[in-house]
Assembly symmetry: C2
Homo-oligomer: 190 residues x 2
DNA sequence: GTCTATATTTAGATAGAC
DNA sequence: GTCTATCTAAATATAGAC
């Protein structure tokens, strides 16, 4: 019903969810197909019925993240002003602080690992940050800032860098402190 | 001469340098001992004379980074004012933009990967960012800012996040733009 | 100290029964 | 569509000759 394949029920989705969680916790490379299958409660060999290679699972996880980001931004779009929309995004990150301290930003650490691959082109993971960056930029532009691209870069970088430090130190407060600071920074803009 | 072992010449250092470069380019997990040995022009089996495990090589690479950061900060300490010292650090990052766009920040991507490991404690890689953070904080305090810890976090996060985005997009200008912005931000502080 | 050959383990992937 | 059993390849690590 949801996609082209004639798949009956749940297993494919469970595998993607399992892979998503494990990749967040352990990283792409250390996560094995056996790990993924076990957590999804699917026999190992069966994985290959749904995905021809490990790369295909990773691609599905990236796509899942992309859809999730799109859904989040769509929800935020219902808010009245660009400022409240930006603050909603910030709030979202602050809420994720404990998970981020433990395993890093699910998007950031994934992109960090995928960017190292020999692929020439930016790849699908870049699209996630592209979507985020464009959206934030649009909010700043609506706030009347002509330097919207720079401001968007500053905000996203600030969050991603804090996520990395928070994870490195295993300390959620690093993330929350930085988000609070960025929140004030948004307020300070004309 | 340089360390406790009775090692005669070069090989250990070559292995660490090789590992450092490969880990930057490919990441920790994908880099094999065979890769490291080949690049260092040392036979594979011989690696185990210098390092008992792969983890030991990684630890040596982390330590190498730590020493390098300490040396950089020591050089910057010779500058006259805290502001010129901070700008020297920023300049250093801007110069690294091409390499960062290609393979990420050597420190950031390494910490990102190591933080995911099951280890409870922050580990040695956290010490690198600790040193950097403390140093930057000291500069801001010398500038008379009582919010020095927050400012230091903002600066380091801003750089690390930009490095991640720059690498994700494979675009050096993302890094240089952000550093320029942070440079202006430093100027704007009382 | 240096190196070759090899043991061990594990992960990705496939074949084919049901 | 589902699953078991297994092949193949590669990576870490060791034994032991020189």
């Amino acid at each position: 019903m949801t996609d082209s394949a004639t798949t009956s029920s749940g297993k494919r989705d469970r595998l993607v969810e399992s892979a998503k969680a494990l990749i967040h916790e352990q990283g792409v490379h250390p996560t094995t197909l056996a790990d993924i299958a076990e957590r999804a409660e699917v026999p190992v060999g069966n994985v290959y019925y749904y995905f021809k290679t490990k790369d295909e699972i990773v691609a599905a996880v990236v796509d899942e993240h992309l859809q999730q980001v799109r859904a989040l931004l769509a929800r935020l779009d219902s808010r009245q002003t660009p400022r409240t929309r930006l603050k909603g995004l910030a709030r979202n990150w602050a809420d994720a602080a404990p998970a981020v301290a433990q395993s890093g930003c699910p998007l950031g650490s994934l992109c960090s690992e995928l960017a190292k691959r020999a692929d020439e082109s930016p790849g699908a993971s870049a699209e996630i940050f592209n979507v985020l960056l464009s959206w934030v930029e649009a909010q700043f532009r609506e706030l009347g800032r002509r330097d919207a691209p720079d401001l968007a870069l500053m905000l996203l970088s600030g969050v991603q860098g804090a996520a990395l430090l928070s994870n490195t130190f295993g300390d959620p407060s690093v993330m929350t402190r930085q988000v609070r600071q960025l929140d004030r920074w948004i307020d300070s803009l004309a």
